[in-house]
């Protein structure tokens, strides 16, 4: 078992390094930030351009730049942002709480809405509930995210003024103070909901199919034969087993939500890592883009490694290969 864990961790590390190379290489192919940052109309000449390149470290051979980057990345040092002039690590750490709050809340919302809907759909299979529930969930998944977000902002924020239209409130960092919590929740509700609706359908579908399988299985029928009440059958036996794949899905979803919040962050002016990344890509800010992408890649790969290890515990067959 421990061999398996070690092997899996090792593979994860190799993957990360491969990822770093791909990220670094492709970003450096996207253009010349030194040229980009020099204004058009000022009296600048080649000397200055070269000086700019040197300051950014862009005049060194590619492989040197990469190795430099890699050894920094292993220590989570990604260099200084070209446009912020502060270490990328600090920037990302500064914005990370916002993104994590958003992703966690989105996931909680998705489960809180998706699981009951999924159970309901399974129990009422092919009924009108099933169909409406599925339609609602799929609608959330099918409409363009930014469009839904803007409409919600207009209705809930501008017309009804029930919820704020943008921003995080006066919150800073990871832990809000007690009196800030209601404000924080107000600001979280809309953006997290927009994130959640893309996932609710999947959660619902997963719960539904898992429930259907369980409900059809022998041990549930046995429980019914034994005469246990419906409630007990559903909740104690069926639902709990059905939730295992759903929860696994949750781990991957979280990583995905963490990464995929760019659109939501733009529309809601949510100061998270996604916005940072967009800026980095648009402005050819190499260190920032590399840092942010590696960070998200890291999250995803760690999550999949952990899941694989957990599966290793649960399903011994996986370990042998």
């Amino acid at each position: 078992m421990s061999l398996y864990i070690l092997r899996r961790l090792g593979e994860g590390l190799v993957t990360l390094i491969a990822l770093s190379f791909v990220v670094f290489g492709s970003i450096h192919l996207t253009g010349d930030p030194a040229r980009f940052l020099i204004p058009v109309t000022e009296a600048h000449d080649e000397e200055v351009y070269q000086a700019q390149r040197e300051a950014m470290g862009l005049d060194r051979p590619f492989i040197i730049q990469y190795l430099d980057f890699l050894q920094g990345a292993l220590r989570a040092e990604f260099g200084k942002s070209f446009i912020y002039s502060v270490p990328v690590k600090d920037l990302i750490l500064d914005r990370l709480p916002a993104t994590v709050h958003l992703a966690l809340t989105g996931m909680i919302m998705a489960f809180a809405l998706g699981i009951p809907l999924g159970i309901l759909a399974a129990v009422k299979r092919d009924s009108i509930f099933d169909k409406i529930g599925q339609a609602f969930a799929v609608f959330g998944l099918a409409a363009p995210q930014f469009w839904v977000a803007i409409m919600l902002i207009m209705i809930m924020g501008a017309q009804l003024t029930w919820l704020p239209t943008h921003g995080r409130g006066d919150i800073e960092g990871w832990w809000p103070e007690w009196h800030q919590v209601p404000d924080m929740i107000h600001h979280l509700m809309l953006p997290a909901f927009v994130l959640a609706i893309t996932v609710i359908a999947a959660v619902m579908r997963l719960t539904r199919s898992a429930m259907l399988e369980i409900l059809d299985s022998d041990f549930v029928k046995f429980a019914q034969v034994k005469g246990l009440s419906h409630r007990s059958v559903i909740w104690k036996h069926a639902a709990r087993n059905a939730l295992i794949p759903v929860l696994t899905f949750g781990g991957i979803t979280l990583a995905g939500l963490l990464n995929g919040s760019v659109v939501v962050e733009v529309v809601f002016a949510w100061p998270g890592v996604g916005l940072l990344l967009l800026e980095g890509v648009r402005n050819r800010d190499f260190p920032m883009t590399e840092g942010a992408i590696l960070l998200s890649g890291f999250f995803y790969i760690i999550t999949s490694v952990i899941i694989d290890i957990l599966y290793g515990y649960v399903d011994p067959r996986v370990r042998i290969r």
């Binding site: 593979e11 998944l141 099918a142 659109v263």
Partner: protein, 293 residues
């Protein structure tokens, strides 16, 4: 549920295809929508009354259902919205077909090879696949577009780059499940070459899952184009594509509402149709559920 006699008869005999279709409970509405999109996309020139890129400053922002010529109104440059929508279906096909084709080809090839070979080749390929899956789709898309540029091809490659890995992973999983089965082992003993085994024995078994995955991915492709266009990294403003149309009109929902609403509805309906169809297809092809019909 036990397999009744009549069921067996129906499945094995040449029962009329009419009965088969009724048994299958085809999702008529989603299917109709998909076919409609295909028709719009293939016959755009015949269906659309105007050139979707023909601007007309004298006929700007006409509301829908008010004008005989422009049934769905015009946009800020005076382009006919109905025509833009129709050609938008074509752009959809132009993006989706090549992108999915390449993604499926690459993904399947890698998945088959990885799953069948096992050991270190599998490990390497899967780590590369993992590395790609580690990029969230919008970030990959952003990178690709900054490399290639915006427009149709940028979006095509962005889609390809974000979707091939999931096919690879899925195919590999299927192959792993299938390759220990008797008929494969038999083929190996008989000395059939690995390529033949992969193509003739393993691949047909994964087609089902592949088809389901494709139909479920198409929806994401459409939405990815919309998101990229919103971020300024997708189609170019003025091009006939639903995503960029919604992006163009998104800030004017109170005044020029039809600019964003109409293409938005199109996107939602088509993505829903694809998803429902994919769901049905999965249910239909699932051997476990098939038994219980």
């Amino acid at each position: 549920m036990a397999v009744t006699d009549t069921n067996v008869l129906q499945m094995t005999s040449t029962a009329s295809w009419r009965q088969r279709i009724k048994e299958a409970r085809l999702p008529w509405v989603p299917l109709a929508i998909i076919i409609l999109v295909l028709i719009l996309g293939i016959f755009s020139e015949l269906i659309a009354p105007f050139d979707p890129e023909a601007s007309n400053l004298k006929a700007r922002v006409i509301p829908p259902f008010t004008n005989g010529e422009h049934i769905l109104g015009t946009d800020i440059l005076g382009k006919d919205i109905f025509s833009r929508l129709v050609f938008g279906a074509r752009t959809l096909l132009q993006v989706t077909v090549p992108a999915m084709a390449i993604a499926v080809l690459v993904g399947t090839a890698i998945g088959l090879v990885a799953g069948y070979s096992g050991r270190w080749l599998d490990a390497i390929l899967m780590r590369i696949t993992d590395a790609t899956l580690g990029f969230p789709s919008i970030l990959v898309a952003m990178l690709i577009v900054t490399l290639i540029g915006t427009g149709v091809w940028g979006v095509v490659f962005a889609v390809t780059a974000t979707t091939w890995a999931r096919f690879a992973r899925m195919i590999r999983g299927e192959v792993l499940g299938t390759k220990e089965r008797d008929f494969v082992l038999l083929a190996k003993i008989l000395g059939v070459s690995p390529t033949t085994i992969m193509l003739r024995h393993l691949f047909p078994n994964v087609i089902n899952t592949l088809m389901v995955m494709i139909s479920l991915t198409i929806g994401q492709v459409i939405l990815l184009e919309a998101s990229l266009s919103f971020l300024g990294l997708g189609m170019k403003p003025g091009e006939p594509a639903w995503g960029i149309m919604v992006a163009e009109g998104r800030a004017q929902l109170l005044t020029v509402w039809w600019l964003a609403l109409l293409p938005g509805i199109m996107i939602t309906i088509v993505v829903m149709a694809c998803n429902f169809f994919g769901d049905w297809l999965r249910d239909y092809l699932d051997p476990k559920l098939r038994r219980s019909r």
